[in-house]
C-alpha cells in the first residue's frame, strides 16, 4: 500500500498574545495510521492538535502562522469552511464531555446539525457509530437513558461514537485515556487499533508505553518545537536526538 500524506503542516507557529507556543512545526501525517504526540506538559501538543481543526481560533488573542494542508488543500485560507473542516476532522478531548442529553441524542447531535432529519437514517447512524465505538453492546438497550449516567470509559467511547457519527476522515485525540482505568484504557487502545483501518488518527498521550503500543509514528515535542518525528519503533528504540532519549528514558519531564 502506498503511504499517502493526509495532513501536512508547514511551518506552523502559534502565538497566545505575546507567548509563542509553537515554533514552526513541520509534520507529515500518514493516512490510516496512528500518529502519537508525546512531550512534557506545556510543550504545545494540545495547541498543535487544535491548530489542525482550527479550534485555537476560539481563544481570543491567538495568532497562527504557517499553513496546514489536508489532502493537499490549505486549511488556513479565506475560502475554508470551518464547519466542513471540523466535520472532516473530529476531536476527542481529555475529559469526556458528553452533552446533558440521552445517549441517542448525543450520537445523533452531529448528523442533526449537518442536516439529517430522517429518523430511520439517524437510527442507523447511531447504531453503526455506537457499534464502531465498541459501545453498542453496553448501551443498545437503553439509548434513551441520560448519557451522564455512563461510566467514564463508556462516556469516552460515547464521545468517540459522537465523532464517528459525522463521518470524519481524521480523528484528533487529546489524552483520551488520562481519566480512564486500565481496563477502559485497554478497550480504548483496542478501539483505536480498529479505527485506524478507516480513519487517520492523531493522539496525544503522556503514557510512553501507550504511544509505543498503539502508534505507527511518534512525534516528540519540547518547548513548542518538534524535536523528533519518526516511525514509532525507531523513535523509541533508536532515538536520534539526545533530548528524545532523555525524555523516553525518564531522565526529565
Amino acid at each position: 500500500m502506498n503511504p499517502k500524506i493526509k495532513i501536512k503542516t508547514s511551518d506552523i507557529s502559534v502565538f497566545y498574545k505575546d507567548f509563542q507556543a509553537l515554533h514552526g512545526i513541520n509534520m507529515d501525517i500518514q493516512e490510516h495510521k496512528v500518529t502519537a504526540l508525546i512531550g512534557p506538559s506545556g510543550c504545545g501538543k494540545s495547541t498543535f492538535l487544535r491548530s489542525i481543526n482550527r479550534l485555537n481560533e476560539l481563544i481570543a488573542g491567538t495568532v497562527i502562522r504557517g499553513q496546514i494542508y489536508i489532502d493537499a488543500s490549505p486549511v488556513y485560507c479565506k475560502e475554508m469552511d470551518v464547519v466542513a473542516l471540523r466535520k472532516q476532522v473530529g476531536m476527542v478531548f481529555q475529559k469526556p464531555s458528553v452533552f446533558p442529553m440521552s445517549i441517542y441524542e448525543n450520537v445523533a447531535y452531529g448528523p442533526r446539525i449537518h442536516g439529517i432529519k430522517n429518523r430511520e437514517q439517524l437510527d442507523e447512524i447511531v447504531e453503526n457509530s455506537l457499534k464502531a465505538a465498541n459501545l453498542w453492546g453496553e448501551v443498545g438497550e437503553r439509548l434513551n437513558a441520560p448519557a451522564a449516567g455512563l461510566s467514564g470509559g463508556q462516556q469516552q467511547r460515547l464521545v468517540i461514537a459522537r465523532v464517528l457519527a459525522v463521518e470524519p476522515q481524521v480523528i484528533l485525540m487529546d489524552e483520551p485515556a488520562s481519566a480512564l482505568d486500565p481496563i477502559s484504557t485497554a478497550r480504548l487502545e483496542e478501539l483505536i487499533g480498529e479505527l485506524k483501518k478507516n480513519y487517520t488518527i492523531v493522539i496525544v498521550t503522556h503514557n510512553m508505553q501507550q504511544a509505543a503500543r498503539i502508534s505507527d509514528y511518534t512525534g516528540f515535542f519540547l518547548n513548542g518545537e518538534l524535536v523528533e518525528f519518526s516511525a514509532t519503533n525507531e523513535l523509541f528504540v533508536n532515538p536520534r536526538d539526545q533530548r528524545t532519549e532523555d525524555y523516553i528514558t525518564g531522565r526529565f519531564g
Binding site: 470551518v82 464547519v83 466535520k87 478531548f93 452533552f99 452531529g110 446539525i113 449537518h114 459525522v166
Partner: protein, 317 residues
C-alpha cells in the same frame, strides 16, 4: 463597642500590644462565659424567630381567610364573577382572570426578551459590555415599583390611549410595566444558568462542526434548561405578587378582560384597594384573596424545587 474600637486601632499597633489584647480578650471570655456558645445561641434564636414569624403570618392569613372561602364554597369563591362585598357576593373570578391576564401577557414578551438578553450577555457581548449590562439590570431591579407605576401612568397609558384606543388603563399597560419589572429576575437567573454551562459542551459542539448559534440553541440552552425554567417561574411569582405599579395602570374594574385593552383588577390590587374600609366578611374576603395568592406562590416554589431537582438528576445544571 469596645471590641469595635480595638479592631479599628489594631492597624496602628505593634505586635506586642496586639498580643496583649488577644490574651486579654481570651482571658476575659474564659472568665465570664463561652463566647462560641453565645454566638450559637443568638443564631439559633434568630432562626427560631424567623421561622415563628413566617408560621404566624401564614397561620394568621389562613385563619382569617379560610372560613370565608368555605362559607362561600371554594369553586364559587374562585370562579364567581360577582364581587360586591357590601352586598354579600364574594366571587374573585374576575380578579383571578385579571391576575392571569396581566401576568401571562407580561411573560409573553418579558421571557423572550430576558432570555435573549442573557444569551447576548454571556455568549456574544464583549466582557466589558456584558458587565455594563449587568449593572444596568441591577439598576432596573433597584427602582421602586411606585416609580414604574408612575412612569406607566404618565408615558404608557397616554400612548395606549392615543395609538391603540380605550382609556389606556388596561391589561396591556399592566403587562408592559410588569414585564419591565420582572426582566431583572429573568435576566439574572437565566444568565447565571447559561454562564454555568461547562465550556466543554460548547467546545465539544463546535468541534463537531456546529455553528455558534447551533451550539447555543442545541446544547447550551438545553443544558441551562432547569435554570431558565426557574427564572421564568420566579419572574411569574414576582408578577403575580406585584401590587403598586399594577394598581396604578390597570384601571381596576372588576370585569373579565375581553381584550388586552380592557381594564382589569388583579388579586393584589383588590386587597390594596379595599383594605382601608373593609370589615367583617368583606375583610375576611380580602384575606381569602391573600390565601389564594399565597397558594399560588407556594405552588410556584414547589415547581422551582422540582425542576431544579429534575435538572440535577439529568446531569444538567
Amino acid at each position: 463597642m469596645n471590641n469595635r474600637t480595638q479592631e479599628i486601632t489594631v492597624g496602628t499597633m505593634d505586635a506586642a500590644k496586639l498580643l496583649a489584647i488577644r490574651s486579654f480578650t481570651r482571658k476575659n471570655s474564659t472568665l465570664g462565659f463561652n463566647r462560641d456558645k453565645l454566638v450559637e445561641t443568638i443564631l439559633m434564636l434568630n432562626a427560631a424567630i424567623f421561622i415563628l414569624a413566617i408560621a404566624a403570618i401564614s397561620l394568621f392569613i389562613l385563619i382569617r381567610g379560610l372560613p370565608l372561602i368555605f362559607k362561600v364554597g371554594i369553586t364559587d369563591f374562585l370562579l364567581q364573577l360577582e364581587w360586591n362585598p357590601t352586598a354579600g357576593s364574594f366571587g374573585i373570578g374576575t380578579m383571578l382572570a385579571g391576575t392571569l391576564a396581566v401576568t401571562l401577557t407580561a411573560l409573553l414578551w418579558a421571557v423572550p426578551m430576558g432570555l435573549a438578553t442573557s444569551i447576548f450577555m454571556v455568549e456574544l457581548a464583549p466582557p466589558r459590555i456584558g458587565t455594563l449590562m449587568g449593572s444596568l439590570v441591577e439598576l432596573l431591579a433597584g427602582i421602586p415599583s411606585v416609580v414604574y407605576g408612575f412612569f406607566g401612568l404618565i408615558v404608557i397609558i397616554p400612548f395606549i390611549r392615543n395609538y391603540l384606543g380605550g382609556s389606556g388603563l388596561s391589561v396591556l399597560a399592566g403587562a408592559i410595566v410588569l414585564g419591565v419589572m420582572i426582566l431583572p429576575t429573568i435576566i439574572n437567573i437565566s444568565r447565571d444558568a447559561i454562564a454555568a454551562v461547562p465550556l466543554d459542551y460548547k467546545v465539544g459542539s463546535l468541534a463537531l462542526g456546529a455553528s455558534h448559534y447551533q451550539s447555543i440553541r442545541r446544547v447550551i440552552l438545553p443544558a441551562a434548561r432547569s435554570g431558565i425554567i426557574t427564572a421564568i417561574i420566579l419572574g411569574m411569582g414576582r408578577a403575580i405578587g406585584e401590587t403598586m405599579a399594577v394598581v396604578m395602570v390597570t384601571g381596576n374594574s372588576t370585569i373579565i378582560p375581553h381584550s388586552i385593552l380592557s381594564p382589569t383588577r388583579t388579586m393584589t390590587s383588590n386587597i390594596v384597594l379595599e383594605m382601608g374600609y373593609a370589615s367583617g366578611d368583606h375583610q375576611a374576603a380580602l384575606f381569602a384573596t391573600g390565601v389564594v395568592l399565597f397558594i399560588f406562590i407556594v405552588i410556584l416554589n414547589l415547581v422551582v424545587n422540582l425542576t431544579l431537582k429534575a435538572g440535577k438528576n439529568y446531569g444538567a445544571n
